[in-house]
Symmetry: C2
Subunit: 155 residues, 2 copies
Amino acid sequence: MSDYAYFEDFVVGLKRETAPVTVSAEEIIDFARQFDPQPMHTDAQAAKAITGGLIASGWHTASLTMRMLITGGHYNPAPGTLGLGFENLRWLKPVRPGDSLRLRLEVISVRASRSRPDQGIITNRFITLNQHDAPVQEMTSSAIVPRRHPLGQSS
Amino acid sequence: MSDYAYFEDFVVGLKRETAPVTVSAEEIIDFARQFDPQPMHTDAQAAKAITGGLIASGWHTASLTMRMLITGGHYNPAPGTLGLGFENLRWLKPVRPGDSLRLRLEVISVRASRSRPDQGIITNRFITLNQHDAPVQEMTSSAIVPRRHPLGQSS
């Protein structure tokens, strides 16, 4: 028996949450200088007039979300799992210095493959929450996931 | 007259390309250690067996794409422009050390607002290309964009 997550391990409504990560002003500025050089992300003084203070690049929040997915204790895809991309990426609230984010994963769809008895398709909603339990980012992602026990096979 | 991009400046089929950015092994590893610590992104030796060598995190490619959007010479949104998020984010080919990426923006939809004579909705396809003109990432994004001349107003 392995700890890998197979198709059979996912049911609609299953929710998991990761440990939090806290983001600092220095990290916000460092990321934005490299990838999103706009004053509300790079210049605390200028940001006051634009967004009431420094806010993180949405792509920084997305990248931190990936980090939480990988390191947050719920990511152990079975060999052969294949992500199909991301949909409906939305930034819902600003992320500010000192905010503590965590990732909530919710299984919203589980479909057997029509053509492949050895796999299915899982869709997860990724909700990135702040320390006030407010969603700051949402997206959905589907993946092809192998079955532990292919349909029609006797074990 | 301003250089801001208003609704009237977008037509379906309009294509723009940014200057390229080159990504190094050090940058790939540095990003991945922070945001996507998986061996194909962080460990050149281990990556040989997994992906034929180091490949960039998809979120690194997405973040570099944002950088090219902002700094690539085509980003001057009119005040009041509001991005509505991203759809269909797909990573199509690996990005490897030394690859030189550029962003191609294509206007794929231009819609007048039904309720607001002073704005419309633009949808752009974002295609991130490598030095061989192969797409490595695609996504689409819609934005509410103000009109330079609101409908029904005499100038």
